[in-house]
């Protein structure tokens, strides 16, 4: 199987083949790796490559193609999609310049709303401040555009993934990356 792995906006092709249960041949960046892979505990992996042993902490949400991998203090995020599916996904997705639904990353209380519906905002602008775990957390606009929907209300609690607001890209601004 061939996968397209995206890391920090760079894509690469990776081929995987299981030649024996638990033993994988992976072709990455022109190099072939023989990996003995075991998952002795959920999402905690034991990899042995060429006799070298590694413990890898991986996070994979059920319906997501994004993986968080922690190894020896470093954190990486990858999107891994099978080659053919990736082509389909590319055709269909609005991409980072599309309509952005901003969901709450955690449970908390909306402490302050700094914008109104209809406001024009810049990428990175703070829209809402959530209070959780006794700290204030800024929710920022992922791109430049207009606040088309504002669901959040000051003083009202929110749960993880509650839709806070929607930012629609500004037609003129999205013409340059």
């Amino acid at each position: 199987m061939t996968y397209i792995v995206t890391h920090k906006n760079r894509e690469q092709n990776v081929k995987v083949e299981e030649f024996h249960p638990g033993q994988y041949k992976v072709l990455l960046g022109g190099k072939e790796y023989l990996v003995d892979y075991l998952e002795p505990q959920n999402n905690l992996l034991s990899l042995i490559i060429d006799g070298r042993s590694y413990e890898v902490d991986i996070d994979a949400a059920d319906n997501s193609d994004v993986y968080g991998v922690d190894i020896l203090g470093d954190h990486f995020e990858f999107e891994v999609i099978e080659e053919k599916r990736k082509k389909l996904v590319r055709k269909m997705s609005a991409g980072p310049s599309g309509r952005q639904e901003i969901k709450s990353p955690m449970s908390g209380i909306v402490w302050k709303i700094l914008v109104k519906e209809g406001d024009l905002v810049e990428s990175g602008q703070v829209l809402i401040i959530l209070e959780a775990m006794k700290m204030k957390n800024e929710i920022k606009a992922p791109l430049a555009g207009c606040v088309s929907v504002l669901n959040a209300r000051e003083g009202v609690p929110v749960a993880t993934n509650d839709m806070l607001c929607v930012v629609e890209p500004d037609e003129e601004q999205s013409s340059h990356s």
Partner: protein, 508 residues
């Protein structure tokens, strides 16, 4: 002394890791324990660790752990003759300490007067000045006009900081290097302050280069004896939140230690301090000058590193002196052995601006081996509550030298796995490997400045490995899904394997 002469029963008015820690000391002293818990903490570890447990209200601290009246009522009902407040919550509430006394219950902490004075920063500083402990020059007076400012500046010395009384987050502050720059800076800060906060109270204090936040652990008894247990270095802070502490400090020599210890004791003595407490100082690594900051009249979060290097149990000592026993240790007997480091583990994502993380701890593996102490209130399956401080656990490492301690901390951190939520374990790992930290060459600005840069620029040798892991994981997932689609439950049989290949062909 017999353990049963201390107390009949102790109520621990706290939660999380510190409640567990206090209960441990009580158990070792054979004192029965009573835990209190909020509705969100019914499953908490401290509830199970105690002999008795009572619900004190709804999740928010104000409706539970801060309800002094409820807590005292439970203490009376259960026959407790002592209450240990831990840190935070009611630990620095003089009125609560007084209510305990009125109810005939011993508050395991200092006398109410000491709490009252030390919780008032102005009063604490005035007291420090009275006993000739150095303060950061200039902290006490507000500026009235430029003339007065110039006079004050001359006594304070340059470089100095002009600060707004209500400033925060770096706003309303200006550093002034030379006397010539004073007027301009004054005008700038005053107008900025007026615009931002609507008030223009500003004050000046000396700017101290390369400050280190160094604190002294003190312990007093009710007979008036006070000793100190050396210093703790707490300069690895992120936005004033302590992340990593170590003891002893790399910049304190015997002479400075003796002076700071004496200063701390004289401050404690001035309020007849009769429990465990921490006297905080800012120290200039350059000049060795130290300045009193404040005193925390309670057990410190980071007390375990002091315990590690002095071989003591400060919690037990607190309970003993609260029971009226005199100190068993004399100052000459308190010595430093080895080195200790504490890594605080917060439920925060260090790769996403330390955003608080919530969720269920799906997997927990704590490190072991020599010199490793894990102080925690978490367990596998715990839903981390969002109502409280995000400190989950403290990893305390001891070794015979600082170098070995760092090496051991690296080793222990690499064994520590908490899954289901994001934690600051990777942050601690990266600090332990940072060359400035390893050289002992850092100050209070370190984490927010040079570390951030060096951390961002660091090499990540395991990128390919991480990628391999993610790809194989996906491959296996896809395989399981494909088998499910064709109705095969066991993906490892040869039939399943060919089915998988078949479905691959079909997709093509």
């Amino acid at each position: 002394m017999a353990a049963d002469s201390l107390f009949n029963k102790i109520l621990i008015a706290n939660r999380g890791e510190i409640a567990v820690r206090i209960i441990r000391s009580c158990k070792e002293l054979q004192i029965p324990t009573v835990a209190v818990y909020s509705e969100a903490d019914r499953g908490a570890l401290h509830v199970r660790a105690a002999d008795e447990a009572y619900c004190i209200g709804e999740a928010p601290g104000s409706r539970s752990y801060l309800r002094g009246d409820t807590i005292i009522a439970i203490a009376k009902k259960t026959g407790c003759d002592a209450i240990h407040p831990g840190y935070g919550f009611l630990s620095e509430r003089a009125d609560f300490a007084e209510q305990c006394a009125a109810a005939g219950i011993t508050f395991v902490g200092p006398n109410p007067h000491a709490i009252r004075v030390m919780c008032n920063k102005a009063a604490a500083r005035a007291l420090a000045a009275e006993v000739d402990v150095p303060l950061i020059p200039g902290m006490q007076e507000y500026l009235t006009d430029e003339g007065q400012a110039r006079e004050l500046a001359a006594t304070i010395g340059f470089p100095l900081m002009i600060k707004a009384a209500d400033g925060y987050g770096g706003k309303g502050m200006r550093k002034v290097e030379r006397p010539e720059d004073l007027s301009k800076a004054l005008r700038a800060v005053t107008s900025e302050t007026l615009n931002s906060f609507g008030r223009s109270e500003v004050y000046m204090e000396r700017y101290i280069e390369n400050t280190r936040h160094i604190e002294i652990q003190v312990l007093g008894d009710k007979q008036g004896h006070i000793v100190h247990f050396m210093e703790r270095e707490c300069s690895v802070q992120r936005r004033y939140q302590k992340m990593i502490e170590e003891a002893p400090s790399t910049i304190i020599n015997d002479e400075l230690r003796r002076k700071m210890g004496e200063a701390a004791i004289s401050i404690a003595r001035a309020v007849r301090y009769d429990s465990a407490g921490t006297v905080e100082f800012l120290v200039s690594a350059k000049t060795g000058d130290f300045f009193f900051l404040e005193m925390n009249p309670r057990l410190a979060v980071e007390h375990p590193i002091t315990e590690a290097i002095t071989g003591t149990d400060l919690c037990k000592e607190m309970i003993r002196v609260a029971a009226g026993l005199p100190l068993t240790l004399r100052q000459e007997e308190i010595k430093i052995r080895g080195h200790a480091i504490e890594c605080r583990i917060y439920a925060e994502d260090p790769d996403n601006n330390f955003f608080p993380s919530e969720g269920r701890i799906s997997c927990l593996r704590t490190p072991g081996g020599p010199g490793v102490r894990d102080e925690s209130g978490i367990y596998e399956g715990l839903d981390v509550p969002i109502y409280y401080d995000p400190l989950l656990a403290k990893l305390v490492i001891w070794a015979s030298t600082r170098e070995r301690c760092i090496s051991r901390a690296q080793r222990a951190l690499s064994e520590y796995f908490i899954k289901g939520i994001k934690t600051t374990i990777p942050f601690s790992e990266r600090i332990m490997k940072n060359r400035h930290f390893m050289a002992g060459d850092y100050d209070t600005t370190f984490t927010d400045t040079s570390f951030v840069k060096e951390d961002a620029a660091r090499e990540k040798p395991h990128l390919d490995l991480a990628l391999l892991a993610a790809v194989i994981k996906t491959f296996r997932r896809d395989k399981v899904r494909a088998c499910k689609n064709i109705g095969i439950s066991d993906a490892t049989t040869p039939a399943a394997q060919s089915g998988w290949k078949m479905s691959g062909r079909v997709k093509r």
